[in-house]
């Protein structure tokens, strides 16, 4: 009877409404996530401290130093510290004060002139992979251009040039994260609604009183999923709009595709809600939800293609992405937002999400324990 189903839904929604902090956090967290993620992966490195010990008065050492200073003044990737004590410089790298130490030996220019294998010492703080790699590349370039007196303003006119042709409006890194952030909002929403409320009731010993009523397992599971769906899709849609505004994706793109967008959000939410039910349906302590949430987030989100393309994954991770509902949702959202794909363009993703939902939801209802 529908009266029972709606009673389960309304109870859950009422309780959610009475906890506005949860609502505020569910909205705020994905937005913060967007900002943090957007700034923590693709930012340029600047002001890496590099110690320089030049023991060679000759011209080639001077040339190298000039090149390095040009980098310091231009992209500001590192700031140079001139030093005289070689041991002190290396020690500084070991202790983490400098990201690198460059040592130009006394006979460097002479060896260059004689072509007798000139060498420059580069001591790197190699555990910090990304900084070390950047410095190595830049320093390599500084040495290579040591022999040229000037930097050519125009490249060789005879060389072939590559011209980029963008098929779609340009998407910057920030914008490309929007689908991922929406999925993140959905993930957080499904984690704190739906089955979580069942786990909480069980933990508080309230579940008993509902099991004593004529509610069937279908009433309980589908009622909780429905209330979780309405809360989560609301939050996810809001997050979509907010993150589009923040990253400068024109809202008209969403308005033109409202039906497929909404369908993908609803189905992605249902997928995750039912998946959570399968995983947490019998959990009796909210701590289990807490422990699993971080884990689930990593294994669902990072292989979803939201941050880095699935094409870069090794075979086994690609195989996992094939059954990861978040990957399909991200794919569909990217297609709709950045390639203006319509319903037909994302029908494959939608079909997967629908089947995934049907299977997991059926399983959760059947696996729901109607006794203590």
């Amino acid at each position: 009877m529908m009266i029972r189903f709606f009673a389960v839904v309304e109870r859950d929604l009422l309780k959610f409404k009475r906890n506005p902090v949860v609502l505020a956090m569910s909205i705020l967290m994905p937005v913060i996530y967007l900002v943090i993620l957007g700034n923590s992966f693709q930012g340029k490195l600047t002001d890496l401290p590099v110690a320089v010990v030049n023991q060679d008065p000759g011209p080639y050492a001077k040339r190298i130093l000039e090149n390095l200073r040009a980098i310091q003044a231009g992209p500001r990737t590192f700031s140079l510290l001139g030093m005289s004590d070689q041991g002190e410089a290396v020690k500084g790298v070991k202790e983490g004060r400098y990201k690198a130490a460059i040592i130009i030996p006394p006979d460097f220019s002479k060896r260059v002139a004689l072509s007798a294998r000139p060498e420059v010492g580069l001591f790197l703080d190699n555990p910090d992979n990304i900084s070390a790699e950047t410095i190595r590349n830049l320093f390599g370039a500084a040495i290579l251009s040591m022999r040229s007196e000037y930097v050519p303003i125009r490249e060789n006119a005879g060389e072939a040039h590559l011209r980029d042709i963008n098929l779609f409006p340009k998407v910057d890194y920030y914008q490309s994260l929007v689908p991922g952030v929406v999925i993140m909002a959905i993930f957080l929403g499904t984690l704190t609604t739906g089955v979580f409320n069942l786990v909480m009731d069980r933990f508080l010993g309230i579940e008993e009183s509902y099991l004593l009523t004529p509610l069937t397992r279908a009433h309980i599971v589908s009622g909780l999923v429905a209330s979780g769906l309405s809360i989560t899709t609301g939050i996810a849609s809001l997050i979509l709009v907010v993150s589009m505004l923040i990253t400068g994706i024109p809202l008209s793109r969403a308005l033109g595709q409202i039906l497929p967008l909404f369908l993908v959000i609803v189905l992605a939410t249902l997928c995750l809600l039912s998946l959570m039910f399968v995983i947490l349906g019998r959990a009796g302590h909210p701590r289990i939800v807490g422990v699993l949430s971080g884990f689930l987030n990593v294994i669902l989100f990072f292989p979803s293609g939201a941050v880095y393309p699935i094409a870069s994954f090794p075979g086994w991770l690609k195989a996992f992405a094939k059954i990861n509902p978040e990957a399909y949702a991200v794919d569909a959202l990217k297609a709709i937002l950045f390639r203006n794909a319509g319903l037909a363009g994302v029908s494959g993703d939608i079909a997967f999400l629908a089947v995934f939902t049907a299977v997991t939801l059926t399983f959760s209802i059947l696996a729901f324990k109607r006794t203590l």
Partner: protein
């Protein structure tokens, strides 16, 4: 037993691994009866009530509640019963009214009926004024009353209460008792209650089963149970100049069964101690004795429990509570 049977239990058993929480228990409860299970914590009361209310599947035997087998037709049983579990189960985030309204909807009761019934039930338990306050603001006694009212929304013919006054102060306990008495007077409702309070079983229940270690050890009305054990009320008289002659004189009275002199105190085993106390005092005075103090110990279900188990419920309590707290112990073991 009156009329037809509301509950018929035969050899019901529940094991949790090596532990047998309820061990081949059989009993019947007639319609309109107020039936109680008395026993210490951990005796199996909650496990038993959970089996009768479909929350636990028995591992042996069977139970028919309101005409339906609890293991085979749990959905039919659930429609017909109201259950107040031992733990407080109302939603703190909802108001009293919302708690009751949602419950009514879980039973498929339509809006107009619900409104009317909830109002009158809240009135009956004295919560009408607080109906729109969050349950989080209620006291323990108010919350308990709300929970009793809540399971009456669908007008069950059979009400189960698991330790309904546990954790309540004496005043709230009496309010709940009065309310339960009113219920049984009104219509032909059957009430099944478990408790570890002697007084609760004695004042409320028409019939009591005493349970210990998963087994029924005695069953009957409180009066029957007390009459069934040897020994009677005990009147203890501290007499200034106690003598063997006095003891013999008292022993000769028609209502006295035995007199035990102990350090100047006579422990006199009698029928109906309170009523015969004046006659005893007269007899002592007539033989020139001076009474320093007098106490009457009337037999209670506690004595019945001691008689059958050799230990008191309170001792059992202290022993078991130190290991397990509250209801659902077997559930955790399972």
């Amino acid at each position: 037993m009156q009329g037809t049977r509301a509950i018929a239990v035969s050899e019901i058993t529940r094991k949790f691994g090596p532990l047998t929480a309820v061990d081949r228990v059989s009993f019947d409860v007639g319609e309109g009866e107020f039936f109680g299970f008395l026993g210490p914590n951990g005796a199996g009361k909650t496990t038993l009530i959970r089996m009768l209310t479909t929350l636990l599947v028995p591992t042996g035997g069977n139970a028919v509640v309101s005409g339906w087998d609890v293991a085979r037709e749990p959905a039919e049983v659930r429609k017909r019963i109201g259950v107040v579990p031992q733990a407080m189960t109302s939603d703190l985030d909802l108001t009293g009214y919302e708690n009751m309204d949602l419950y009514g909807r879980f039973y498929g009761i339509h809006a107009r009926d619900r409104k009317e019934r909830i109002r009158s039930l809240l009135d009956m338990v004295g919560l009408a004024q607080r109906a729109n306050d969050l349950v989080a603001t209620y006291s323990g006694g108010m919350r308990r009353r709300l929970e009793i009212a809540r399971v009456l929304v669908h007008r069950p013919a059979l009400l189960f209460l698991d330790e309904p006054t546990i954790g309540l102060d004496p005043q709230s306990r009496h309010v709940v008792w009065d309310f339960l008495r009113k219920l049984i007077e009104g219509d032909s409702m059957t009430i099944f209650l478990t408790t570890h309070y002697m007084e609760e079983a004695e004042t409320l229940c028409g019939r009591v089963a005493i349970i210990d270690a998963g087994k029924i050890i005695a069953m009957g009305s409180p009066a029957e149970l007390k009459a069934g054990i040897p020994g009677k009320d005990i009147v203890s008289l501290a007499v200034g100049n106690a003598s063997t002659e006095l003891a013999e004189a008292l022993g000769g009275l028609p209502f006295v069964h035995e007199v035990r002199p102990e350090d100047g105190v006579f422990r006199i085993f009698v029928d109906s101690g309170a009523r015969n106390l004046p006659a005893l005092i007269d007899a002592v005075r007539a033989s020139g004795g001076a009474i320093l103090s007098a106490t009457v110990h009337e037999q209670s279900l506690e004595d019945v429990f001691i008689h059958y188990t050799g230990k008191s419920i309170r001792e059992e309590e202290a022993r078991k509570v130190s290991f397990f707290v509250g209801a659902g112990v077997p559930q955790k073991l399972g």
